[in-house]
């Protein structure tokens, strides 16, 4: 908006200046002229009076010479023709009065000294005394004094001034009015220009132009303004075009990102489905009767499958990071629990390798902190895995300590090893994607080279920093720091046990199950889980189960899995069949695959819920979602869609058991329904 408030327009200013100047000049002129002319009149009168005095003086010389006051008096009487002459006196050279004349109308006495007695106060001060010497030959023989009433002239002067003032006043007003009218020629273009500018800036209409008719500076200003407007218009157009192009580019980019995301999603599913089959089969096979050779073969296959899954997870993670789709949670976790499970994971491999392994924690660090336990473990696993991988002898240690300053506290994790170290030339690129220190180590130790890059991304996403120092042949220390966010003390907040944590109180299991997030990393640990539950005695359930799964392989797997816990499910191929079966049969639990043709799991679940609510079909039946997707947010989404639980494929037996235990009553257990 216009920042200037117009309190006096140019028109007013110009008018005021013009009128002011005119008034001033007029006033001064009038005053001077009037005053001078009136003063002249007065002076003239005075001059005349003096002349008369002189004339009379000249005439009375004889009277004085011959001492004849009578004739002098007669001569003085001639002054009666001038009514302004109040009195005249002739004095001899010694000052004695000789002859006197007084006008009839003059009041009071006038003397040579000029003081008046008893005359009207106002007018006495206007009496002027004119003294003229009477000269005979070359001697002054006397003096003639004439008293002149200058009031009439003074009065005229005053009247003249008053008149002049009135004239001036009228003149000034006329001048102002005329100035207002006439300066329009000058000020109108200015006003037009100013209005145009206001309009242009408030409406942002840059197509207006200023029209000028005169050839003065205003026209120049206007022309420049027009030019400027033209430029602005141009720029506006170009700007709009640029915006359009940018929008298009942005849309294209968004489109590309979307494609990428859906590719990711699809890939996630596509890859996991066959993997599910492989891994599931392997675990099933491992539970069968095998001879040593077969067991060995299957263990090998298992290892390979696990490695493959790890690699796939890495790749998927990496692509997620690339697409910016990776999200890091901020949930309550137990630092000690996580450290424990990590430690447990590496205990045996370290022992087998003959490498010392230890975990130390700083007791001053609070145990309950906010963070993403899955990602934290991922980073730790990666770093420890690397350390273990590249260390043949010596030790691998994990140290946890507090860092930062009292205002911004951080937790520092240090993984140090006595391994082969990293050559200085490689240190720069250690965190780069796809970088391996050297080709031989890749062959020797394996890996995609994505691990550290992903670690760095994850640490950054968690708001921390990562680094290392290493000496070739001596060892390396990789560290990362995360901001320490202590828990928000809320007694009603539930503790979040992790899937792979130490055995927790089964009484709490049911409540907590909703909070547990299942990440892809978990599947790697299925074999390492010092597990929770159920290996003491085989778990058995009794329930009517429906499984909706479109893939034959997966159908097979799940049938076998459920068989291990004593369940015999009905299997259908898609959501539609599931709904139909649901309506006709009694079920306690439904395993609903998400991705299915004809009708997917989400829709089917919704329909089932409606049937339950409105028609009372299988009112207490529970639904467990199955999906190969492992994206963050999926679990929550499906739970919101109405599922009671959620499992990712490939399904880990332990997970399955946990879920079943949470939802059903084991035959050989005393847990109540949830």
């Amino acid at each position: 908006m216009i920042p200037v408030k117009v309190s006096r327009t140019i028109r007013q200013q110009v008018s005021q200046i013009t009128a002011g100047v005119t008034a001033l000049v007029l006033g001064v002129t009038l005053f001077v002229v009037v005053y001078i002319s009136q003063q002249n009149a007065l002076n003239q009168a005075l001059g005349q009076a003096e002349i008369i005095a002189r004339v009379i003086g000249s005439n009375v010389t004889a009277s004085i010479a011959f001492r004849d006051p009578a004739t002098a008096g007669e001569l003085l009487d001639a002054l009666a023709v001038s009514p302004e002459i109040l009195r005249a006196q002739v004095f001899l050279d010694d000052g004695t009065p000789f002859a006197d004349y007084q006008a009839e109308l003059s009041q009071g006495q006038f003397s040579k000294q000029g003081a008046s007695t008893g005359a009207s106060i106002d007018r006495s001060s206007y009496v002027k005394e004119i003294v003229t010497p009477i000269i005979l030959g070359d001697t002054e023989i006397g003096t003639i004094v004439v008293w002149l009433d200058s009031w009439p002239y003074q009065y005229q002067i005053y009247m003249g001034l008053v008149f002049a003032f009135v004239v001036w006043l009228i003149g000034a007003v006329i001048a102002y009015v005329l100035a207002q009218r006439l300066n329009e020629r000058v000020t109108r273009p200015i006003n037009d220009l100013s209005n145009l500018m206001v309009r242009v800036s408030s409406n942002e209409d840059y197509s207006s132009r200023f029209e000028h008719h005169e050839n003065n500076e205003i026209a120049l200003l206007g022309a420049s303004f027009n030019q400027m407007l033209g430029q602005i218009e141009d720029r506006e157009q170009r700007l709009q075009e640029a915006i359009r192009e940018l929008k298009k580019a942005r849309d294209d980019a968004q489109e590309a990102a979307r494609s990428k995301s859906s590719f990711l999603a699809n890939m996630s599913h596509e890859i996991r489905t066959p993997m599910n089959g492989v891994v599931g089969m392997i675990s099933l096979l491992q539970r069968t009767e095998l001879n040593d050779q077969q067991r060995l073969y299957f263990d090998t296959i298992d290892k390979s499958a696990s490695s493959l899954l790890m690699i796939i997870d890495d790749i998927l993670d990496f692509t997620k990071i690339e697409a910016g789709r990776l999200e890091v949670k901020s949930e309550l976790l137990s630092l000690q629990d996580n450290l424990n499970s990590i430690a447990a994971f590496f205990d045996e491999p370290a022992r087998n390798k003959g490498v010392e392994f230890g975990v130390t924690n700083d007791p001053n660090i609070p145990d309950k902190i906010l963070g993403d336990s899955g990602r934290l473990r991922q980073v730790l696993l990666n770093l420890l895995g690397n350390a273990m991988k590249f260390t043949e002898h010596g030790s691998v240690r994990l140290k946890v300590m507090s860092a930062g300053n009292p205002i911004a506290r951080r937790i520092r994790f240090e993984v140090s090893d006595t391994g082969i170290g990293i050559a200085p030339k490689d240190q720069q690129r250690i965190f780069s994607e796809f970088f391996q220190a050297d080709a031989t180590s890749t062959r020797q130790f394996g890996g995609t080279g994505l691990g550290l890059a992903i670690c760095r991304q994850l640490v950054t996403l968690m708001g921390g920093s990562i680094g290392f120092h290493s000496a070739l042949g001596v060892g390396s220390t990789f560290w990362f720091e995360l901001p320490m966010q202590a828990e928000i003390i809320n007694p009603f907040e539930k503790a979040v046990p992790d899937a792979t944590s130490a055995p927790t109180n089964p009484f709490l299991k049911g409540e907590a199950s909703a909070e547990v997030h299942v990440s892809s990393a978990d599947t790697n640990q299925k074999q390492a889980a010092p597990m929770a539950g159920g290996h003491q005695e085989p778990l058995r359930f009794e329930a009517q189960v429906l499984v909706a799964e479109d893939s034959e392989v997966n159908q097979f797997i799940i049938r076998e899995l459920l068989a291990t816990v004593g369940l015999k499910p009905t299997i259908v191929n898609n959501g539609q069949e599931a709904v139909e079966s649901f309506q006709s049969n009694r079920y306690d639990l439904v395993f609903m695959d998400i991705q299915m043709p004809i009708m997917d799991g989400v829709v089917a679940t919704r329909i089932l819920r409606e049937l339950q609510a409105q028609q009372g079909v299988n009112p207490r039946c529970l639904v467990v979602g199955l999906s190969a997707h492992a994206m963050s947010g999926d679990r929550e989404r499906y739970l919101q869609e109405g599922m009671d639980e959620y499992l990712t494929k490939p399904i880990a037996i332990a997970e399955l058991e946990r879920v079943l235990r949470g939802l059903l009553r084991p035959v050989n257990d005393m847990i109540l329904w949830r």
Binding site: A62, S63, A65, F66, R67, L136
Partner: protein, 185 residues
């Protein structure tokens, strides 16, 4: 009788009467204008007359004021002339009849002798003849200084004056008693 002769006669008679009236005028002289004696005033008047009468151009300076015999007036005149320069010369006539060189001839009443005046000389030489003899102007004199109760008055015999080629100022005539008219006789 011719005019000239008549004048002469008058003058003679005047001279004669002067002796008679002299003591009278002497006595009257006492009460003149306050502060000034009559002879002083008359002396002033004589000098002033020069300022109000125009002599014909034939008369040149120095201006002579002639007296016949000494008198108070002549002494006053001398005193006045001594005070300031006026370009007027006062002298006593040695020969009463030879006054042709004078501009003004004053005949004092008191000191008049029985000199006879040659009037035609006066007329011919443009001499202003002034006297304070009463009746002087009437009897053909030019200017008479008249004794009045509070002042000295002037009586001017205009025709005689003009006949002598003298022009009196109107200012003078204004305050004088003027005898006769300039229109002939």
């Amino acid at each position: 009788m011719s005019f000239v002769r008549r004048i002469t006669l008058a003058l003679l008679c005047m001279c004669a009467s002067i002796a008679v009236t002299a003591p009278v005028s002497e006595a009257v002289r006492a009460d003149s204008t306050p502060g000034f004696a009559a002879h002083e005033i008359k002396a002033a008047f004589l000098l002033h007359l020069f300022q109000f009468v125009t002599w014909p151009e034939t008369k040149v300076a120095p201006v002579e004021l002639c007296f016949v015999g000494e008198s108070d007036v002549s002494r006053s005149v001398a005193a006045l002339l001594a005070k300031r320069r006026s370009g007027i010369n006062a002298r006593q006539l040695s020969d009463p009849s030879d006054f042709s060189g004078c501009s003004l001839l004053y005949i004092d009443n008191a000191s008049a002798t029985d000199n006879t005046l040659a009037l035609d000389t006066a007329l011919a030489s443009s001499v202003l003849v002034v006297s304070d003899q009463p009746g002087f102007a009437e009897q053909g004199g030019m200017v008479e200084l008249e004794r009045q109760p509070a002042r000295i008055g002037l009586i001017v015999n205009l025709p005689v004056l003009e006949a002598a080629g003298l022009k009196p100022s109107s200012k003078l005539l204004r305050l004088a008693k003027v005898l006769g008219s300039s229109a002939g006789f």
